[in-house]
Symmetry: C2
C-alpha cells in the first residue's frame, strides 16, 4: 500500500546499536518482533556460530564444554518475561542525567525457551566455596572511561543463578533467538533489569570471590549523589512501574470519550492494581486490567475517559504489586539514570 | 546483513501520519528518500490519479482545467529547497506547548521540478481585483476544534504566488513525487515554512478577498499569549536556524578529538556564518561550512573539538544570514509552538 502507515524504532545510537520500541504505537502486545528494542554496549560481535561451544568452568568439580546439540537435548524450560533496560525512561529524570535518553520504550516481552542454568551446573557440580556465576558475552570493546578492552560480563549470586527460572535460552517466541538479541544462547534472568540477561554467551565461570567487572561494579550501580559514590548499591530487580501508551504527552483531543491505555509490570511478584487520575493526582480510579496478571509479565490496562469540558488535563497512572510496593511520585534520582519508575504523567489539551 | 544498523523515522502519530526524520543519524545529505519526514493533517487522501485534472478558476479571465500532460509540456523549473515544518523543534519550547512534540527532524531538502504557478496563471489571466491564490489539497477531515469537514487549503498573496520560484511540482529528485509527499502535484513555496507547500493539489482558485480557512486563520498563526489571541500574526518565512546533529544531547564522550557537526538554513537570503561554542556561550568560534551557501538550501557545518579535561560541557551553535538575522538565545514562545529557532544547545559529559 502506497499509503500504509507503520511505527518504527526510535534510534538512540547506531554503533553500538541502541534503538527503542515505539511503545505508544503498539496496541496488541509487546511481543514486537522487529520492534523489540535493541540495547548494545559494543558493536555486534563476530563469531562463527556453526562451531559454537559453551564452556562452563571455574570452581566446579567437572569443567565441561557443552555443544548446542547437548543443550537442546536437556529438559527445556520456557519463560514468558518482560525485559526492561535499566535505563528505560532515563530521559525523564530531573535533573537530567547523561547517557542515552531512553523514553518509555526500552521494554519488551516474549517467551524464551532454554535450559535452566542450574541444569548445566548439575553436570559440572560447584565447589562449596562458590559465590557467584559469571556469564560473559562475545561482545567487547573500549569504554569511554578506560582504554582497556572489556567483554560484556555480569555475575549472579549463586542463589539467583540456581533459580530454575534463570535460563540459558535458545529460542525466542518459538524461533531461534534473533542475532541482535543474543543468538545462539542468551541468559534470561526474570525479575531483574535486562543488563543481567547477557547476550551471545561465550562462557560461564563459577567463582569464589566477588566479581568486579565494569558492568557490575561501575555501571548498573545506583549512585544517589552527583559528585560522590556514597550510598551506591547495585541495580537488580525491576521496580513496580506503569506506562501510559495512549494518549501521547501534549496531545490535543476533542471532547468526548477517549480510551486511556497502557501497561504495568514489576520485578516483585504480581501487579495487583493500576489506578488512573485525570485531574493531576487528586482523584484516582481503578483501571481495567485487560489480561490476568502473571508473574514476570506485563499487564495491559485501559480506562474509559469521558471529557466534556475543554481545557488542560494531567493524566497519571500508578501501579502497585503483591510485594506491597507502589510507584512513587518522584523517581529516586541517581547519577547514571537507572530504574526510573515514578507515576507516569501525560498532559493533554481538550478543545 | 544480520547485524546491519540503520536509523528509522520517529513516529509522532500514525493516522494522520506524522513521522520525523532521524536527523542525528544522517551524515551525507538531507535528501533522505525513505527518511523524508511525513507531516499530515488528515488521513491520506483517496483519488484516482489516472483521471487527474487540475482546475484553475476564481477571478480569472479564462478558467482552465489542465491535464497532467499539458503541465509536463510547459517550461520546467527546478528548485532545490529546504522544507521545514512550522512545528519543527516544537518539543523544545518552554513552557511546553500542546501538539505533536517534534524535535529537530521535521526538515528535509530535495530538488523539486515543476512549472511556475505564474505560468499557469498566464494561461488563465487574473482579474485586477485578485488578491490571493488558494491552493487546495485532496486531503480532508475533521478538526479537533470543529465538527465540520475541512479540506487542507492555504492561500498566497498574489506577489508570492507570482514569484517564479513558487512552483507546481511533479518531480522530486528526478522521480515522480512519492505519494506521501504530494503525488501527482505539489505546490512548493521556497523560503516559507512547509505548511504553504500544499500536497495532492485538487484545485487552484484566485480570489479577491482575504482567505480565512482554518489552516490559514486558526492554525499557522503565531499567538504570543497563552490565553488570548492578542498580537497574533501569520506564520510565513522560515527563521534563521541551525541544528547540532552530532554529538547528541546528554552523550557521554571520551577525552580526545570530536567532530561537532550540523546544518544551518534560513528563509531570508543566505546563511552567512555558523558559530560554535563549547563553553555554554561565553566564547564562540566559526564552524567550517562544508558546502557553499545557496539560496533556499541547507548549509552543512562542522567543527573539530579537542577536549582533554573531563567534565560537563555545554555545546551551542548559532547561525546568521544575509538579511542580518541571527538566532536568538531564546525562541519566541507562542501558544501553538511554531518557528522555534533558538540557538541550539546540547550538553555532554567527557570522562
Amino acid at each position: 500500500m502506497q499509503n500504509s502507515q507503520k511505527p518504527f524504532m526510535i534510534t538512540r545510537n547506531l554503533d553500538p546499536e541502541n534503538q527503542e520500541t515505539p511503545i505508544h504505537f503498539i496496541n496488541e502486545d509487546l511481543i514486537g518482533g522487529k520492534l523489540f528494542y535493541r540495547r548494545n554496549h559494543f558493536s555486534y560481535p563476530n563469531f562463527v556460530s556453526t562451531f559454537y561451544w559453551l564452556p562452563v568452568g571455574g570452581v566446579v568439580h567437572y569443567p565441561k564444554t557443552f555443544s548446542l546439540k547437548e543443550i537442546l537435548g536437556l529438559p527445556p524450560r520456557t519463560i514468558k518475561t518482560v525485559l526492561e533496560c535499566a535505563g528505560n525512561k532515563r530521559g525523564f529524570f530531573k535533573p537530567k542525567v547523561f547517557g542515552d535518553q531512553w523514553k518509555k520504550g526500552a521494554i519488551s516481552q516474549g517467551s524464551w525457551k532454554g535450559v535452566s542454568l542450574r541444569t548445566l551446573l548439575e553436570y559440572t557440580g560447584i565447589a562449596e566455596t562458590a559465590r557467584e556465576v559469571i556469564v560473559e558475552g562475545y561482545d567487547f570493546g573500549e569504554r569511554t572511561d578506560s582504554n582497556q578492552i572489556h567483554y560484556f560480563s555480569r555475575s549472579l549470586a549463586i542463589d539467583k543463578a540456581l533459580h530454575p527460572d534463570t535460563i540459558i535460552a535458545y529460542e525466542y517466541n518459538g524461533e531461534p533467538i534473533p542475532f541482535k538479541h543474543g543468538f545462539p544462547l542468551r541468559l534470561i534472568v526474570p525479575e531483574w533489569y535486562a543488563m543481567a540477561s547477557v547476550k551471545w554467551i561465550k562462557k560461564i565461570i563459577v567463582i569464589d570471590y566477588e566479581f568486579k567487572g565494569p558492568f557490575q561494579a561501575v555501571d548498573y550501580v545506583y549512585y544517589p549523589k552527583k559528585d560522590s559514590d556514597e550510598g551506591k548499591f547495585p541495580v537488580t530487580t525491576m521496580g513496580i512501574n506503569s506506562t501510559i501508551q495512549q494518549p501521547l504527552d501534549r496531545k490535543i483531543l476533542n471532547t468526548g470519550v477517549h480510551i486511556l491505555s497502557g501497561i504495568a509490570w514489576t520485578g516483585n511478584g504480581l501487579v495487583t492494581k493500576v489506578e488512573v487520575s485525570v485531574d493531576g493526582g487528586i482523584n484516582w480510579s481503578s483501571a481495567q486490567l485487560v489480561n490476568v496478571p502473571e508473574r514476570y509479565s506485563c499487564v495491559r490496562w485501559s480506562y474509559k475517559w469521558e471529557v466534556l469540558k475543554t481545557g488542560e488535563y494531567t493524566i497519571m497512572s500508578r501501579a502497585a504489586d503483591s510485594a506491597g510496593d507502589e510507584q512513587p511520585k518522584g523517581a529516586m534520582w541517581n547519577r547514571k539514570g537507572y530504574g526510573y519508575n515514578a507515576i507516569d504523567v501525560v498532559r493533554v489539551k481538550v478543545e
